[in-house]
Symmetry: C2
Subunit: 394 residues, 2 copies
Amino acid sequence: MLSKKSAGIKSSAVRELLKFSKIPGVISLAGGIPATDLIDVEGIDTVLKDILSREHRGLFQYSVTEGEEHLREQLSRWNSEHNLNVDAESIIITNGSQQAIDLLSRVFLEKGDKVFVERPTYLAALQIFGYTDATVVELEYDSEGIQLTLLEKEMATGGVKMVYLTPNFANPTGNTISYEQRVKIAKLSQQYRVVIIEDDPYGHLRFSGDPVPSIFSVAQSLFGKNHNVCYMSSFSKIFSPGLRLGWLAVPEHFHMATVVAKQALDLHTSTLNQSIAAHYIESGRINERVEILKATYKDRRDYLIGSLHEYSGGDITWNTPDGGMFLWCHLVEDIDASQLLQECIKENVVFVPGEVFFARDPQKNSLRLSYSMLTAETAREAVIRISRALKKIK
Amino acid sequence: MLSKKSAGIKSSAVRELLKFSKIPGVISLAGGIPATDLIDVEGIDTVLKDILSREHRGLFQYSVTEGEEHLREQLSRWNSEHNLNVDAESIIITNGSQQAIDLLSRVFLEKGDKVFVERPTYLAALQIFGYTDATVVELEYDSEGIQLTLLEKEMATGGVKMVYLTPNFANPTGNTISYEQRVKIAKLSQQYRVVIIEDDPYGHLRFSGDPVPSIFSVAQSLFGKNHNVCYMSSFSKIFSPGLRLGWLAVPEHFHMATVVAKQALDLHTSTLNQSIAAHYIESGRINERVEILKATYKDRRDYLIGSLHEYSGGDITWNTPDGGMFLWCHLVEDIDASQLLQECIKENVVFVPGEVFFARDPQKNSLRLSYSMLTAETAREAVIRISRALKKIK
């Protein structure tokens, strides 16, 4: 009775994996989750108590689909401090940026469309596109960055509707797209009328290197308001994932259709939670929190890299991302990371095999290691355990 | 660039209407919203302060897709007090029941499928089905209740995938499906393997007549756990719409596909809000609140009906629902309710023209009057204004 697209679905490997990560004694490098110890509970509580002390009956009633004006205005103001000029009127509040991807896939994608994604890319974006009738095509990276030749060629022949990119410290690769390539992408998008989805959950978590302007900003400065880039970000990595808050900025010619789709999906996002976020940004605490996160994640990245240097015995290679929460690794001998994971589960350490991030022809020897929750000690112990497991199956 | 389904979308008439309803001096019978003055702000605040006083860091972290166990258990227990036996394991928490409809349409509907709905039916369900490739077919009501002959015939010939019903005090008609018909629907669903979506946001708001068992319960008692009825309800009408909380109970053979779809849509529903609802149910305050709502809505229904008797001069007919928030009305002369609305806007009173609740061939002389927000005075004044507007265009 299930639709063809649903009938094939099994519980995902990652979903099953997260169960292991909750067993006491297991060190998890699997979750794409921010550090629980760094959530500013005191700050959220202060804001919440402040909200409760004022007239707040309206927060429990229905609200507008596009999101609370207070939050959209605070987001607009706060982003302008970070070189992203977005009008409050362009912003739509969503249940995390996950919903924003779904929303746009609903608004744009239909049978015959092609969606280009990075290879590899965010797993849950692949899941969403899997519910549509569009075809997913992967863009390779090489030493020059993301390969745009295939994209340009396909754009010229038609059928490309959307390009989904995470330009800053992508999940899982940690890749950042260069300024020159962002300009090129913005221009291609305009020339061939292709929607760019710029997913930027990690942009504020840069701890080395220089910030690069968003594709949205580039397109806006080149083409004014009628460009084709939709920008989305999230409160999940810098504030609180449990509140399920993300936001989306779309050019005016996409705005009405996107709001109407959001209305059909779930009317609007929790008014109480939007108010918490608006007051938190307004209080200025968000900037202090981002500084703490950046410093801590840099340390944690370095703990993990240091441990890999010391204990992986040359069996694993990795990147060194300038931000975000992940190392993207490969096993140097052609070992299947899923097989390694089975051994690692016995050693009480888990990670996500890289294969789940590919639309097709996965790199079986790839793996994603999240460092967001590590300490110096758990990083060291995790790599020792992984290396021990690796020796068993080599 | 928008998909064909999105390209045709304009801002809905109802959406535009809600703007008028916020102008001071305007009496609105338009909104499908619970009474703001009856939201138990004190109760929610008490629960929230209690949550903040305990260890609650986990509420701000990611949670599980199916919903917090505490909430699912409280829902299971509370429903059992109201003759609905639903295991906590069958429950999936959603962002209002709106999202539950979307979720199931994602899980089941594909090209070639037919979805049967009541004629007329909930506007936003029609919007959701409009994003799918399924075809909507309407089921008429007559003096015997909902007409099942066409449905049975079409089920026998195949192609029917889903039947979407609001069996208690439907929006907009106030109709309730009889016990005999519920049994018949459950049996047809089983015989022809057709999914029944039982949308029940108003079930707790019965203020006259006897409760009728849900189709879900009927199917469960007839066929055990492997029936085909999905039940959904909402906290929006009895607790708080702004928190965006609904819930869905599905038979086991649909459970995994539904959870995976929810994961793709937005990972999970706000953990904080789920915790508020769980504690609120546990505290027992929800039962007191439902009693207050029922008594008040009955009064408000009677104010509106009394005013229609007194002031509408025989120009309007209406139903008398046993619960919920709406009167379903018709203009006795063949006057277009949309035209009447234009005159009513000048008179500072608004309602929703009934035509928006039809998939096709709308009854142009129908209108929905919401009484949830009325007082004796505003009900009287509203009907006087509508009658005055009506006289102008007759």
